[in-house]
């Protein structure tokens, strides 16, 4: 029974991956289509309206649509891609739920489960964020990242359902790890935005022919900078909570709230890097490209913590199950 459910779970995850591939291709085609649109609409553009405040040095935000897009609907490719992301997520969540049912516990107790749940959360955050801002241009980044992570997870991290070791039998597993996953999701989105911000900055810095025409359908560099900051801010708050919840759990399980275990060290490093990012953004001369680079360094550290630290560093957080 358990192993059957676990197998169905894997089938669903594979199906979700197939659907994400379609979404990825459609997102790419959408970007290609945007390049065409830019050339057509080039003349009839209205500059995005932004209003500056005096003191804050802050762009006051309206819901500024991407300059070229007239309606909020997007190209057909984009709509297909978006629908595929939703469908993929449904299958994906189905797989995660089956895994949880098979294991009789939350489905994030080893590296494989952390990966499949984490990627689903990334997709979910990506989809939900659209209600707040149109960030569909990040679809290529998000679907691509999720596909790579899922591929590595299913091929290299797969482990059969096993019972929880006593150290993990705690409600903090539900809270601490889930919040860490959510934080990772926001950091991932922030990294995607930071990349677009850097590309946009590069393009705006060039006087001559600007490559990557589709970038003109994206918000400008300043706007992307603000969006990056917002998204990372949420991630930072979640990460702070992860750190504190982890310390409380460590006190219960290991007898000390902080012991510079390798995973603790890297969680701390990530926190400090993003704290640095927030300060960089408030430092004259650092807002913009420089702070975007820091955001990317932060996400690189997140990925490092998830992969290399989990697999190769000796420590108390050895729950990869591999």
């Amino acid at each position: 029974m358990t192993s059957n459910l676990a197998q169905y779970s894997v089938v669903l995850v594979y199906s979700a991956m197939a659907v994400y591939v379609i979404a990825f291709i459609a997102f790419v085609l959408d970007l290609a289509k945007r390049t065409g649109e830019v050339q057509v609409v080039a003349a009839a553009q209205q500059p995005a309206k932004t209003v500056a405040t005096v003191q804050g040095g802050t762009v006051v935000l309206e819901r500024v649509e991407a300059p070229v897009r007239s309606g909020g609907r997007g190209t057909r490719f984009e709509r297909v891609a978006f629908a595929m992301m939703v469908l993929g997520l449904v299958l994906h969540v189905g797989g995660i739920v089956l895994r949880g049912v098979a294991a009789h516990r939350v489905p994030w107790a080893n590296m494989f489960e952390f990966s499949i749940t984490g990627t689903a959360i990334i997709v979910l955050i990506f989809l939900l964020v659209q209600l707040w801002q149109n960030l569909r241009f990040l679809g290529v980044f998000v679907s691509g990242l999720v596909l790579i992570l899922l591929g590595v997870a299913t091929v290299n991290f797969y482990v059969d359902v096993v019972p929880l070791p006593p150290a993990l039998q705690s409600y903090w597993l539900v809270l601490h790890v889930f919040v860490a996953i959510c934080g990772t999701g926001f950091f991932a989105l922030g990294a995607g935005l930071a990349v677009s911000q850097l590309v946009q900055t590069y393009r705006q810095g060039r006087a001559d022919a600007k490559p990557l025409k589709f970038m003109e359908t994206l918000p400008d560099a300043d706007r992307l900078e603000v969006l990056t900051y917002r998204v990372i801010l949420v991630g930072f708050v979640l990460w702070t909570f992860t750190l504190i919840a982890g310390a409380i759990w460590a006190e219960r399980a290991w007898g000390r709230y902080w012991g510079w275990d390798t995973k603790e060290v890297w969680t701390f490093i990530i926190w400090v890097i993003y704290a640095g990012y927030i300060h960089a953004r408030a430092t004259r001369g650092w807002r913009g490209a420089r702070s975007s680079w820091l955001a990317l360094v932060g996400f690189a550290a997140v990925m490092f913590n998830f992969s290399v630290v989990n697999l190769f560093f000796k420590g108390l957080h050895s729950y990869s199950g591999l």
Binding site: T50, T53, G56, P165, W260, V265, W266, G276
Partner: protein, 589 residues
């Protein structure tokens, strides 16, 4: 702090704000430092005044500095945003080595192993304190500088904020139309909503705006026919609380940690631990520890049980639960029974008792060549693998004529492998077997050199059982209850039975609560400082209408963000709508 300068500034800045906020920040040419009610920020902060007018350190042509000048210069450097940023990045970098090599505090055996594996590299790294990264001089220097910089920033900011909290909102700017969310609402007979008896007077409109803003949590001030309102002082409060709480965490860890202690004790079923220094196997006192801090209590380990997975074929024999049943006796005389589990420590006598390890202990009796009982004790063996193949040492210094030493392997579920050697294939006691190699000679215990109880130094000893192949001298294999004689008439050994043991960590850490308190404060501060918007809103009555003559006067609304404020325009529009509805006026677009 003059309001007039504040007003000029806003007028200019409004005119300059053609594009982004960045433009606004750089185009300003005001007095910067005297922004009424504004948080005092480091001079290179994004939201503080322009550098040139503030005697910023960037000035190239500095006049010669005196001693005080230099001190001020370095202090300004240390408390600048750039330095904070630099120190944060250094802190992140400096934390990395501690994750690459084992640390003495977390993994002392790993450090020893590292020394064996890398004999050349070890002394170099050790002299750089890499094995004590988080107490090293360089790591400490970075975080201490960071905290000095932090304190240098928050102390003046707190003072400034304290004053700002008691400052009234500034005068309404002359021209609102350049500001965020600007909106005009003409008020005349034609826009009166149904059921509104009469046109409100300008004075009534201002009063109702004041009441509305006050209800909405703004601090309000009336200036003639306008209201100036400000809210979100909590943003800066949260910011200061967050940073001060971080200092609090550091102090609680640094100072409070000195009052605690941690100790370890290995306890076999039936044994009792007393909370006195002599009863600990190892003990690490804090800096200000005194023995009077040890509250008297006893703990007896009644029983230790492990539950194993028995159904899931992928995890047969995996432990699913560890449970130590203990009886405690406190000084008052109360006797209670408790269960200690992983994730569920026992709180007793100001300490927490954690279950961190377990294993098997052998009950062994050794008779010497003269037939006397030379040894009768219970010996903990250390588990070597997940199936609890365990290794331990029995030292019998009282055996006559020669001292005896034994190195034992214990297999809870013994199976004989093809090679003839034993192995354990299940962690529970299904087919227990104790296998001993026996040595005679001087164990070296009498000269006072400290020895590990888990290791036998075989130098100078003669092995009489357990050498490789000879059938005569093969290892002594015992099942519980069995007795076997030792070769050469040196005596006999009895395996009386197996008991479980646990290793307990006993911690007393009075700083813990303080750290938790400051951590909670930090989170609350962080949330308010990031998500409470600081903004100013103005409502102004301007005589006349839009020119079509129908309106008696026009209401103007505008706002100004003080820091990040994504919802400013919506908030201003909301105020306008609610105000109009309070007045019974329809907003015509």
């Amino acid at each position: 702090m003059s309001r007039s300068s504040d007003e000029t500034r806003r007028g200019r800045a409004g005119a300059a704000s053609t594009g982004t906020g960045l433009d606004a920040a750089t185009d300003r040419t005001d007095d910067g430092a005297s922004l009424a009610g504004d948080p005092l920020r480091p001079s290179d902060h994004m939201d503080s005044g322009p550098a040139a007018n503030r005697g910023d350190v960037d000035d190239v042509n500095q006049p010669a500095l005196g001693l005080v000048g230099y001190v001020r210069f370095f202090w300004r450097q240390l408390t600048s945003m750039r330095t904070a940023l630099f120190l944060l990045m250094m802190l992140a970098l400096a934390a990395i080595p501690g994750s690459l090599v084992p640390q003495r505090t977390a993994d002392p055996n790993g450090v020893t192993q590292y020394e064996v594996d890398h004999p050349k590299l070890f002394p170099i790294l050790d002299s750089l304190q890499v094995f004590d990264t988080y107490t090293s001089v360089w790591f400490s220097a970075i975080y201490l500088l960071l905290f000095v910089s932090l304190i240098g920033c928050i102390v003046p900011r707190t003072r400034h904020h304290w004053q700002a909290l008691r400052t009234r909102p500034p005068r309404t700017p002359a021209r609102l139309h350049r500001l965020a969310g600007f909106q005009r609402v003409p008020v005349g007979p034609d826009v009166l909503a149904d059921g509104t008896p009469a046109l409100p007077t300008a004075d009534a409109a201002v009063s109702s705006a004041m009441a509305l803003l006050k209800r909405s949590g703004y601090r309000v001030e009336r200036f003639g026919d306008s209201v100036s309102a400000e809210r979100g002082y909590l943003r800066e409060t949260g910011n200061l609380v967050f940073h001060a709480a971080l200092v609090g965490v550091l102090l609680a860890v640094g100072v409070g940690g000195g009052f605690g202690y941690t100790g370890q004790r290995l306890l076999v079923e039936g044994q009792t631990f007393s909370n006195v220094l002599g009863s600990y196997d190892s003990f690490i006192p804090g800096r200000w520890f005194s023995q009077s801090q040890l509250h008297g209590y006893n703990l007896t380990l009644d029983k230790f049980t492990t539950s194993y997975e028995t159904e899931n074929l992928n995890a047969l024999g995996a432990a699913t639960d560890y449970n130590a049943t203990v009886t405690s006796r406190t000084k008052g005389g109360a006797t209670e029974q408790h269960d200690i589990k992983v994730n569920s420590p026992l709180s007793i006598g100001g300490t927490n008792v954690y279950l961190l390890g377990n294993g098997y202990a052998m009950q062994v009796t050794v008779r010497d060549g003269q037939g006397n009982v030379a040894f009768k004790d219970v010996v903990p063996f250390l588990p070597q693998d997940s199936n609890y193949t365990s290794l331990g040492v029995v030292k019998v210094p009282d055996a006559k004529p020669d001292q005896l030493g034994m190195v034992g392997f214990f297999y809870p579920t013994a199976v004989k492998q093809a090679t003839g050697a034993y192995a354990s294939n299940y962690p529970d006691v299904e087919n227990p077997l104790l296998s001993l190699q026996v040595y005679t000679g001087d164990l070296g215990l009498d000269d006072g050199t400290p020895q590990s109880v888990y290791q036998l130094s075989t130098k100078g000893l003669k092995q009489i059982a357990g050498t490789s192949d000879s059938a005569l001298t093969k290892s002594i294999a015992l099942k519980p209850g069995q007795t076997k004689t030792l070769p050469g008439g040196t005596g006999s050994v009895t395996f009386d039975g197996v008991k479980r043991y646990v290793s307990l960590d006993i911690h007393h850490d009075p700083s813990q609560l303080w750290v938790a308190l400051f951590a909670v404060l930090a989170v609350l501060g962080l949330l308010t400082s990031l998500f409470v918007p600081r903004r100013r809103v103005w409502v102004k009555v301007v005589p006349g209408g839009d020119g079509d003559g129908g309106a008696a006067f026009t209401l103007e609304y505008a706002g100004l963000a003080r820091g990040e404020d994504p919802n400013l325009e919506r908030a201003v529009a909301d105020i306008a709508n609610r105000h109009a509805s309070d007045l019974g006026v329809r907003i015509t677009q």
